[in-house]
């Protein structure tokens, strides 16, 4: 196995990103903590997904740089980046009639070329990914016959097979019910415990607090605050981000903050 422990750093230096002529993110600085799960939270349209796309070189910056191990990510050959950083976008269209193992096999693409299509390490990485995502029993199933949670696990397994120290996920649980959300979050947590540095865009605040080591709270393209969920999560922050009033209590089991007594503030 390739060493996947958090030795590859990813950071944004004075990053400015635009959609067309609209500036989404301006002069943003961020460093992902190594070997930890970072959750990017914030209201719709705050630039979370744009930031993730910027960090994963899908979106070209208009100013500033994304640094991969201290070097501009756009200065690397794209395939070399793909061996260090895996991205799971929201829009995951797949070829029709493909099964789980075939999907995971695509994750090996950055390690292959036209004349080097299959090595022993490819199969090893796929077997490892199948095990890690607990998909051994499902590997021959067609992707479109799986439940939402299983399908999302298959996509994550594809990123695992990519064998990258960095993994970025854009709303990995957005279309999933509670049970399937937990399934995916626990997998993400396990991956970080094995040493991967993970960043994910998450909508659900309590889940973000529960499963992330580090929270980045964004609004209007800027980072409002960041840090350990237990420390930074306050009712003032929730009000500032989402315009709702609530009380926060610690989860009796895990101690992570839970939102209760939620009320919408009538006029802002």
């Amino acid at each position: 196995m390739v060493d996947q422990t958090g030795t590859v750093s990813l950071s944004a230096d004075n990053l400015t990103l635009q959609h067309g002529k609209t500036t989404i993110i301006e002069s943003l600085n961020l460093t992902l903590p190594l070997g930890k799960v970072t959750a990017i939270v914030g209201p719709n349209g705050c630039g979370k997904s744009t930031l993730l796309n910027g960090l994963s070189r899908i979106h070209h910056p208009i100013g500033g740089t994304v640094l991969l191990n201290g070097k501009d990510i756009h200065k690397y050959p794209s395939k070399e980046v793909a061996r260090k950083l895996a991205l799971l976008p929201q829009d995951t269209i797949s070829p029709d009639g493909i099964n789980v193992e075939e999907l995971i096999r695509f994750g090996r693409h950055p390690h292959q070329s036209t004349m080097k299509q299959w090595k022993m390490s490819d199969q090893e990485a796929i077997d490892y990914a199948l095990n890690a995502a607990d998909l051994n029993g499902l590997k021959d199933r067609l992707l479109n016959t799986l439940s939402g949670g299983q399908r999302q696990r298959a996509w994550i397994a594809m990123s695992i097979a990519q064998e990258t120290p960095l993994l970025l996920l854009d709303e990995p649980t957005s279309a999933l019910d509670l049970g399937h959300q937990i399934e995916v979050f626990e997998l993400i947590k396990e991956l970080s415990e094995e040493g991967k540095t993970i960043a994910m865009v998450v909508h659900d605040l309590p889940s973000a607090c529960r499963y992330a080591d580090h929270i980045v709270a964004m609004k209007d393209g800027k980072i409002v605050t960041q840090g350990c969920p237990k420390k930074i999560m306050t009712k003032e922050l929730v009000l500032a981000l989402y315009g709702i009033e609530c009380d926060l209590i610690p989860d009796p089991m895990t101690g992570s903050p839970i939102l209760i007594n939620i009320k919408r503030v009538k006029s802002l």
Partner: protein
């Protein structure tokens, strides 16, 4: 549990030193099967006509053996036409499969996107006009490229994905078709007659030079497809996934688009716009493919098969009257197109 086998399920791994190349076992089986059918169809096509030959004498004649009269009939009279049909069918069908994959839509074949029509319009303009000195074949290629560029430009930011590309293409094709009709209606009847084969899709007016050019072009495109199968596998994914794998989606699409346009232009330059081969060929290939990957080589074989059979039917059914091959494929292909449209609701799209 580590599986120590050195090739993934369902694949054959060819290797030399540190180099390795994967071939899908299902692809070998289906391509052998289609090749077998194709050889049978070719033998039938070479043997059947005003002088009917036995399969054995056809095979002898192809290799320059046996009766000299048979050799003359097969090699001088029929082989050129067979190759023209084989090449154009394969080219149309391969172009169709590439375009469908590119646009993620099974209806997005060069014929429907108007590339055929534009190639035809340019070819006809060269036949009917005295001011254009370029050969109709070359004009067909230019027409194909122009139509694609127009459809692409008109589709705006959505590129080859989505309906804008297809609708823009249908518009371009309709205009090209109207211009062709206008040109034909404005010239003397014998000039219009000379231009007519370009408008229906026929193998009787092929130029032997263009058949050879198409053959070489087709061979180059097929080899490119074999080498690119590995990366073309990424085409069905979204842009972000492909970039995430470190490949350039733009470059991938551009290559597929160029291959598709060149193949269509060359095929039109030999046989004119032959209806619906580009639609049915890939469909047959997918029927045999285990999962809906991108069966490029099978599409080419199936397209060749359709053309050879369609031409054989066109020559023999109402003999001695000859039905142009494009009309045969349209008669058979039309109902098939409707069937796909009706059926598509229940199955997933490409």
């Amino acid at each position: 549990m580590i599986n120590k086998t050195l090739s993934p399920d369902g694949y054959l791994r060819l290797s030399l030193g540190s180099y390795s190349y994967l071939i899908e076992k299902n692809a070998i089986a289906r391509n052998l099967f289609l090749s077998g059918l194709l050889i049978l169809a070719c033998i039938a096509s070479l043997g059947i006509g005003t002088l009917t030959l036995t399969p054995w004498s056809v095979i002898q004649a192809v290799f320059g053996l046996g009766d000299s009269m048979n050799q003359f009939v097969v090699q001088e009279l029929r082989l050129q036409r067979l190759l023209a049909g084989l090449y154009t069918g394969a080219a149309f069908s391969l172009a169709g499969c590439l375009m469908q994959t590119l646009a993620r839509n099974r209806l997005a074949t060069p014929g429907i996107i108007g590339i055929d029509n534009a190639a035809m319009a340019f070819a006809v303009s060269s036949v009917v006009s005295t001011t254009i000195s370029m050969a109709p074949s070359a004009m067909a290629l230019i027409g194909a490229a122009t139509a694609t560029a127009l459809a692409f430009g008109l589709s705006g930011s959505s590129g080859t994905r989505g309906y804008r590309f297809i609708i823009a293409g249908i518009g371009v094709g309709a205009i090209a078709g109207a211009i062709t009709q206008l040109m034909l209606s404005q010239v003397a009847i014998d000039v219009a007659n000379a231009a007519y084969p370009w408008t229906v899709g026929s193998l009787s007016a092929r130029s032997s030079l263009m058949v050879s050019v198409l053959g070489v072009g087709l061979l180059i495109c097929l080899i490119s497809c074999l080498l690119l199968t590995h990366v073309f596998g990424l085409l069905p994914f979204s842009d972000a996934v492909v970039i995430g794998f470190g490949s350039s989606m733009k470059r991938l699409r551009l290559i597929a688009l160029i291959l598709s346009v060149v193949l269509t232009g060359l095929a039109v330059s030999v046989a004119g716009p032959v209806g619906l081969v580009a639609l049915i060929g890939p469909e047959i290939a997918r029927f045999f493919a285990r999962y809906r990957g991108i069966p490029l080589i099978s599409s080419a074989l199936a397209g060749g098969l359709i053309m050879v059979i369609a031409d054989l039917l066109g020559r023999t059914v109402l003999s001695p009257i000859e039905i142009p091959v494009g009309i045969v494929t349209s008669i058979v292909g039309g109902p098939y197109l409707i069937w796909i449209l009706v059926r598509q609701r229940s199955t997933h799209s490409l």
